[in-house]
Assembly symmetry: C2
Homo-oligomer: 161 residues x 2
Amino acid sequence: MFEELLDANAAYAKTFDGAGLAREPAKRLVVVTCMDARIDTLAALGLKPGDAHVLRNAGGRVSDDVIRSLVVSTRLLGTDTVVVMHHTGCGMATINKKSVREILTDIDEEHWEPFQLLEIEDQQQALREDVTKVRESPLLRDLRVAGFIFDVKSGRATQYL
Amino acid sequence: MFEELLDANAAYAKTFDGAGLAREPAKRLVVVTCMDARIDTLAALGLKPGDAHVLRNAGGRVSDDVIRSLVVSTRLLGTDTVVVMHHTGCGMATINKKSVREILTDIDEEHWEPFQLLEIEDQQQALREDVTKVRESPLLRDLRVAGFIFDVKSGRATQYL
């Protein structure tokens, strides 16, 4: 598998032109979205390499680690616009800590107890919470923040917030 | 800006075919990499929508939130292969908590004190730490894990671990 990825990368590098790309995103944009395999973040939003920071985790949730990354992105690397993009058919909306524990019976209680799942109970509510976390973080300043939902069947993104 | 992204997405959706894509990544792969704007994760590794989960944050560090996402990806959604891909020219290698504090003087000490930056002091050491965290996490099991470094000038990925 690793070999296959490196071979594909060698072909990619032949046409990659990194010389003109800066560390600071050209569109001053940062996108927070889910790890879901069906989301090709740049392509889905018409972006090119160099345009935007991309943060991804299970659910596209605004975790402490996303706030950490947004501090670096928005306060040190010049971005000022944030899109939080959740999606339809998200696995995080089908589980909770109790249901996961029934599957993962091999984890010691000491490691399981502090584990935070950040599951999604209600999609629009979760999106609202995450957008609000960005807007109200005491570590962040002066951002434009939107909330999108990406439809993994149609490929369409819709703005909700 | 939001309008521009949604217009570009409408064009993308016209050719997007999500019908055949499952929630479980087809290549049973998850890639952990940096938010850096110059990394187009899928394209750089020859992947298509549906192939792999993608986790991204500042530095591509294996934070608690990455472990959370890896639990969901590897133990609930069938992935078994992890690539941790750091990159050259990473902003996280140029800062530390003290240097950032000198810039961000407007954050209250109570919010600043618990803030974890997860900066990179030594690139290969950080990559080794992150790969080891995945391999040794008490929440994860039976994974193949590699460590790549992506060169943002040439577009080439190299396997170090």
